[in-house]
Symmetry: C2
Subunit: 225 residues, 2 copies
């Protein structure tokens, strides 16, 4: 296939490290990426679009979501529900939203605290806010550089994923392989498994401190795997 | 060395699956294990000691801790601080306490909730309750059967550990290798890393649900490992 045939319209909500890394990689792959921010005149998003050139665009959250075939939520945990709600329930209807956000509270410094005890999760809250959207939680358990380049980590390692729509998870699994090279996805079940995937990030933070690098990931060893 | 020379006096606090599994394995290795419960006439502990035979004993928490060279805390998260406090600050002075407890709240059913957000941890609370004891948090991230037999899980996999006393962690690392066969321990740093190790257990719970087996563990893949 020629590049034109595989080019997709992708919305990325968030202008932090994760949003930048995902957007830059997808734009480099030839996709039409629109980076969304709370304000349409966000300087970071505008600068990113200028540098990325070509089909890259930017705007507010509704702008990033409206034309997109698939949307990444890369906003911070505290603002994620407001961001996806602002993006628009109607324009996200029937679409896949890949949720990468983590419910971390850095207000007391690092290491951060968790916003939820595991009795609730950001993934569920986002799915509840967008009942007609297929929310797939994944990529939240690794550093941004590893998200788009799993080969940075040696050996076999796994990407946890959850969501209520099996077909959406299957599609995202294929896309993550094609776009970024992810070979092994572990389906943890419905979106409620976000409760486990999100608190894991605090373990990740301590592991990063001990290993002195964010470039790592886990491989789940079990019989018959 | 003959068995007598390597036999240790070990106290195990807790009569649940974890306490039973640890006690049974250590008794089978020839150690003098005393299982401790809240009440000295705990039927489960008495039955365990009868079945284990030989040098196995049982009693209340102070009894299990008083003669021990090393103590395992295998009590439930909600009762752990009370249990180690009852065991006795004085008789645990200078000793290593291996803390396996997880701060899970099953009062609303499964999956459980976490008692802490990661702003505090059971490991730290236990260390604070026993300032002169060397608390080493480990073995809390796997199923009981895997704790004493890591070979059940195929391939390389890792055991997280944390604690404030480097020599105590080094000793526990050697003992876990000798007793149970643990080949790879990852030192996450001081006891505050319990914040990450304890919330990880909620991720483990969801992973177990997806894998449909508790017999698994993680291998941390990183450069130069």
């Amino acid at each position: 296939m020629r590049k034109e045939e595989t080019s997709m319209k992708i919305g990325v909500l968030g202008t932090g490290t994760v949003g930048m890394t995902i957007s830059t990689k997808l734009a480099a792959l030839g996709h039409q990426v629109t980076m969304g921010a709370r304000e349409s005149r966000n300087e970071k998003a505008a600068e990113w679009a200028r540098k990325a050139g070509g089909k890259a665009g930017h705007g507010d959250f509704p702008r990033a979501a409206s034309d997109a075939e698939i949307v990444f939520n890369c906003t911070s945990g505290g603002g994620a529900v407001a961001a996806v709600t602002a993006a628009g329930k109607e324009s996200l209807k029937g679409k896949i939203l890949i949720d990468l956000a983590n419910p971390l509270d850095f207000s007391a410094g690092t290491p951060p605290r968790l916003l939820f005890h595991g009795e609730d999760s950001l993934g569920e809250r986002i799915q509840n806010a967008l009942p007609d959207t297929k929310v797939v939680k994944t990529l939240n358990t690794i550093a941004a550089d590893v998200m788009v380049n799993p080969g940075l980590v040696p050996g076999e390692h796994d990407l946890p994923m959850c969501g209520n729509d099996a077909a959406a998870k299957a599609r995202v699994t294929l896309l993550l392989r094609e776009w970024f090279g992810w070979k092994s996805v572990i389906d943890l079940g419905p979106i409620t498994a976000s409760r486990g995937m999100e608190v894991y990030v605090l373990f990740w933070v301590h592991l990063m401190g001990a290993l002195k690098t964010p470039v790592f990931n886990i491989h789940v060893q079990r019989k018959g795997a």
